[in-house]
């Protein structure tokens, strides 16, 4: 994917010291909440794109509903981030008025939608990750975050189950469906590892009992996905030659700018509009 020049550029962007001594607790707390909220917000935006494009009308509803759950999670998380920040930014300001480099979602969720199998592969990984994440965060020292997690975990279980059902059906289906499901898994694989990376804000949050180390969730996430793939007669893709990284630090792929342009342009064209 990248030439060596690109890699150098990316390394510089990702490896630059971001945790200066003055990165205070509030900043890290806000960043942690944004990483959770931005994952949900950006994936909700991508899932919304499926409306009228899914293979059947029931899936239009399903993907829209999963997106709606995630949008609800994002609203709560961004509101909480704004509260902790204490600068008067509400959920709308954080969702609509931040620029690309300020978004802290993983690159997995911003990737353009592929075919339905790619989406189910992405949802299986993301929802499996969210299940483990929200289970742990129900005991967060940030009580609001714990409350959000208690609600969100029930939703994530349902999302994971939905993706599981489809991966089983497609993997253990016809020759064509199996091939395409396997291709879907291959397509998202380079973006999976980033979910388990311990970024600065997560390390701080885990130390404070506010959050959880993403790497501590990886085994359980892998276990679930592996079990599904085995049952579905699919193969876990080989370790990718490169993998996405940098999203937690605001370094995104090309798709992100287009996604934000579409998501934000109405809010930015009509500042403060209400109805």
């Amino acid at each position: 994917m990248s030439t060596s020049a690109d890699a150098t550029h990316l390394d510089a962007a990702v490896a630059a010291p971001r945790h200066t001594p003055e990165t205070d607790a509030t900043t890290l707390h806000v960043r942690y909440l944004l990483s959770l909220g931005d994952d949900a917000l950006v994936y909700a935006q991508r899932l919304g794109e499926w409306l009228t494009h899914a293979p059947q009308i029931e899936e239009d509803m399903a993907l829209g509903n999963v997106g709606l759950d995630l949008l609800g999670q994002a609203r709560s998380l961004l509101t909480r981030a704004g509260e902790v920040e204490g600068g008067g930014r509400d959920e709308d300001a954080l969702a609509m008025l931040r620029d690309e480099r300020e978004f802290r979602n993983v690159q997995l969720v911003e990737q353009p939608r592929g075919d339905f199998a790619v989406e189910m592969a992405r949802m299986l990984w993301f929802a499996s990750y969210q299940c483990e994440l929200w289970s742990q965060l129900t005991s967060s020292a940030d009580e609001t975050l714990a409350g959000i997690a208690g609600k969100a975990v029930k939703e994530a279980v349902y999302h994971r189950d939905h993706a599981t059902q489809w991966v089983l059906r497609l993997g253990d289906g016809t020759e064509v469906s199996r091939e395409r499901m396997q291709a879907g898994l291959e397509a998202v694989h380079p973006y999976v590892a980033e979910l388990g990376e311990d970024h600065e804000a997560a390390r701080w949050a885990a130390e404070q009992g506010v959050g959880v180390l993403p790497s501590s969730l990886t085994d359980a996430v892998n276990a679930h996905v592996s079990a599904v793939l085995e049952q579905a007669t699919l193969t876990m893709p080989d370790a990718p030659r490169w993998h996405a990284r940098g999203g937690r630090e605001g370094v995104h792929s090309e798709a992100m700018g287009y996604l934000l342009a579409e998501m934000q342009h109405i809010a930015r064209s009509h500042p403060g509009a209400t109805w």
Binding site: V66, G147, H162
Partner: protein, 185 residues
């Protein structure tokens, strides 16, 4: 959203000469608040749905604590507006606060609410809820859900996501009618 709504000032100041806030008046307003229908499923009240966690008397009126069903449920803000409107009509300031924990569960739905759903053609929540941890069922779904129209147990899932976040779509193999099922969470 939790806090913006939670911090919203009580609706309107009480006008001069308004009826005094007697226990009778407050009790009547509380009754009416509990009878507010779900905007999406108007046969069930928000009290029977289990969304109302508490109603208490405050200095200037009532404080109603609610717990949302789903994070992104668009009906939640309609419910809040309806609750505030009940107070406004009676001249009693009603403040709505949102409590997230413990998370809402279909266990909080009353028997009366379940009966109302069934009569309306929606199968009330039944069966086990899914868990985030522990062994995960990897077989395709086979659950028994009773048809609210004819009572047959021979029904099948058509779609796991129905017309709202809280429902799935099923169909009865006996009477051939489609119906919504309230998901167990």
């Amino acid at each position: 959203m939790q806090s913006p709504r939670g911090l919203r000032p009580p609706c309107t100041p009480r006008p001069r000469g308004a009826a005094p806030l007697t226990d009778d008046l407050l009790a009547r307003v509380e009754r009416e608040v509990r009878l507010v229908p779900d905007p999406e499923i108007p046969v069930i009240t928000i009290d029977d749905l289990g969304v109302i966690r508490n109603v208490e008397r405050t200095g200037p009126g009532l404080r109603v604590t609610i717990t949302p069903t789903y994070s992104g449920c668009p009906a939640m803000s309609a419910m809040e507006d309806a609750v505030v409107a009940v107070g406004r009509r009676a001249g009693v300031p009603v403040e709505v606060v949102t409590r997230l924990a413990p998370a809402w569960t279909t266990d909080w739905m009353s028997e009366q609410g379940r009966t109302a759903l069934r009569r309306f053609g929606i199968a009330p929540p039944t069966g086990e809820r899914a868990h985030a941890t522990g062994p995960v069922g990897l077989t395709l779904h086979r659950r028994v859900v009773v048809c609210p129209h004819c009572g047959s147990e021979d029904t099948e899932e058509v779609a796991r996501f129905g017309s709202t976040a809280c429902k799935a779509l099923r169909r009865c193999r006996s009477c051939r009618e489609p119906f919504d099922e309230f998901k167990t969470i």
